[in-house]
């Protein structure tokens, strides 16, 4: 269990992490989500005692990280794949970590086998691909067989097989009763692995919710309709008691209706339809909606003078209400 209380980190003028309070519980995978620069890595570094918080507190099962007598058997962390000396072999890298915590030498071979690096154990880490470096980092995290595991962007650089493997690994670690805390900026990835979600943007907590709640609130299905006889269609649908919202591009959207019903209604009134399609809003969209205000590094389109595009009013009602809890 990791408890964050009012955690704050300031770099000069910039608040990297702003009064963050949440709890990471054992027995499940907790996804830590936020756009680039949201403060995810800073938060993780503070959890590991690498950065000192400006204010607030992080406690690991009630203790500060630097008061842990056997940190690696308590917490295993993958921070970044290249946090190792490139000139050292994979085996020696893990060996020096094991020795620093009095972990038996045999564990080195065991975790190398777990992550599938046994064949390159004697090779220097600088020859490793990003994915292999990531696996070595994961091996380091597993070394002490810890009760808490932290992974910062673990799927970075992994091939599809590797991604599948790490997903299952995280789930099985959580199923053994461990605390698994994993950061990502990919909602779709989290949807497949995480049981609980902590979302931050610009250092502030945006959401602390279970994954199933998040999906329930945000996976909105609707029907998109386009018609040249838009006004007539609106009247007809209104008479039939169907709630319609107008989306920005001139199309109409109906929440929760059946396409058959609308198609038949249109046929009865001889309205021409150009499109009638069931749509499913992705979790990725929901996540972007949630963090839209707090995205720090926007990519800009070719026309820099255009004012930033407001989210369409039709979209706004379903993305903003769910984080009130």
């Amino acid at each position: 269990m990791i408890e964050l209380e009012g955690l704050t980190k300031r770099y000069g003028e910039k608040l990297a992490v702003n009064n963050l309070t949440c709890t990471v519980r054992p027995g499940m995978v907790t996804g830590f989500l936020g756009p680039n620069g949201a403060g995810k890595s800073t938060t993780m570094r503070m959890m590991l005692g690498l950065d000192r918080p400006t204010a607030g507190d992080v406690r690991i099962d009630g203790k500060h990280y630097d008061h842990l007598k056997d940190p690696l058997t308590y917490i295993g962390a993958l921070l970044d794949a290249k946090a190792m000396h490139g000139g050292r072999s994979a085996f020696n890298h893990l060996l020096c970590l094991a020795q620093s915590n009095g972990i038996p030498k045999r564990r080195v071979a065991e975790v190398l086998d777990t992550v599938g690096l046994t064949a390159v154990a004697k090779k220097k880490a600088k020859g490793f691909s990003l994915g292999m470096g990531q696996r070595l980092g994961i091996a380091g995290a597993l070394l002490g067989d810890p009760r808490i595991l932290m992974f910062d962007e673990p799927v970075n650089g992994l091939d599809p097989e590797g991604i599948h493997w790490i997903r299952n690994l995280m789930k099985s670690l959580a199923a053994q009763g461990r605390t698994v805390f994993v950061s990502s900026h990919l909602m779709s990835e989290m949807a497949l692995t995480a049981d609980h979600l902590v979302v931050i943007g610009q250092g502030r907590l945006l959401a602390d919710t279970s994954m199933s709640d998040f999906i329930e609130r945000n996976s909105r299905s609707y029907i998109r309709i386009r018609s040249p006889q838009r006004e007539r269609l609106l009247d007809v649908l209104h008479e039939a008691g169907v709630t319609v919202v107008e989306s920005g591009s001139g199309a109409l959207e109906v929440d929760g209706g059946k396409p058959e019903q609308i198609g038949e209604l249109a046929a009865q009134h001889q309205i021409v339809l150009h499109e009638l399609s069931p749509q499913q809003a992705s979790l990725e969209e929901a996540f972007m909606q949630l963090t839209a205000e707090s995205v720090e590094y926007h990519a800009h389109a070719d026309t820099p003078h255009e004012p930033p595009q407001e989210p369409s009013p039709a979209r706004q009602h379903w993305g903003d209400g769910w984080n009130r809890s």
Binding site: R45, G49, P71, L79, L95, L97, N101
Partner: protein, 291 residues
């Protein structure tokens, strides 16, 4: 798909305090025995680190080559060209100093790399996660590095000293004190110079910067003093000469560039004092700064 290990029964490791029944934090229990870590663990970890990178072999290899190579070559040259009685009263061990002066650059580089390279590679974050006590990490690095540097220097210096005594028949017979200072003393001094470099590496956190500072420290006073012609600066010039590191090396053979300045074991005390102060500063900075 592979799992790290089969799920273990909860009774496998009863030594988990927090996992005891009634604990507020029920969680996974590892079958791996839990060890309370201490400085010994950090030392064995640092020993693995220093022996498992190639830069250690390179810097120490070049060091031995320089010290032994230049030491033996000097002795052979002097032995071949000495005039009758020209070495009378001279300490034969003193001919080892040329190789050591050059070789010290290698020890400085290795010392800096021991700390600064971890910042360059990002390894430091892994190190500090594995051992949250930052002072313990620096202490372990200092102990391991000092032991390695001293051992290698002492072996090389001893070899050259034995060759000097054997080859230079005309020189005086070194006394016990001469032997102690000319082998143990100077090796201790060189290792301290390396230790200071290690500490500077930890403060600067940048290999090239720290090496430059240390080489400047070794050479600059002597070079600056060479160009101080004004008589008004005579005292400064003399002090720079006296306390320049090459001159302090000479003190171990009782033949300095000047008559004033450190003599006997003075250089060791000076180096010990400077290194201790720098070490305390480095620990304070480590505690204060983010990794």
């Amino acid at each position: 798909m592979s799992t790290p290990q089969p799920p273990m029964p909860q009774t496998a490791a009863p030594d988990w305090q927090a996992a005891a029944p009634g604990s507020p934090y029920p969680t996974y229990t590892s079958p791996i025995p839990v060890v309370r870590t201490h400085l010994g663990h950090a030392i064995s970890s640092e020993w693995t680190k220093i022996r498992s990178v190639r830069s250690t072999m390179w810097t120490l290899g070049v060091f031995v080559l320089l010290v032994v190579g230049i030491g033996l070559a000097t002795a052979a040259l002097v032995a071949a060209n000495q005039a009758e009685d020209s070495l009378t009263g001279q300490n034969p061990l003193s001919f080892g100093v040329f190789g050591l002066l050059l070789g010290s650059m290698c020890i400085i580089t290795l010392g800096v790399l021991t700390t600064a390279s971890e910042y360059g590679t990002g390894m430091i974050r892994t190190t500090m996660t594995a051992c949250p006590s930052r002072a313990r990490v620096l202490t372990a690095k200092a102990i391991v590095f000092f032991a390695v540097a001293f051992t290698v220097t002492f072996a090389s210096v001893l070899l050259v000293a034995l060759a000097d005594v054997a080859m230079l028949k005309g020189a005086k017979d070194p006394s016990g004190g001469d032997w102690l200072k000319g082998t143990f003393g100077i090796s201790f001094y060189i290792a301290l110079l390396g230790l200071l470099s290690l500490v500077v590496g930890s403060i600067i956190r940048h290999s090239a910067g720290a090496v430059t500072i240390m080489i400047g420290l070794v050479l600059a006073p002597l070079v600056i003093a060479l160009f101080m012609f004004s008589s008004a600066l005579e005292k400064v010039r003399q002090a720079l000469f006296d306390y320049s590191i090459p001159n302090q090396l000479g003190a171990f053979y009782s033949n300095s560039l000047s008559d004033t300045g450190p003599t006997g074991w003075d250089p060791v005390w000076i180096a010990l004092g400077v290194t201790a102060v720098a070490f305390a500063g480095a620990v304070a900075l480590l505690q204060k700064r983010d990794v």
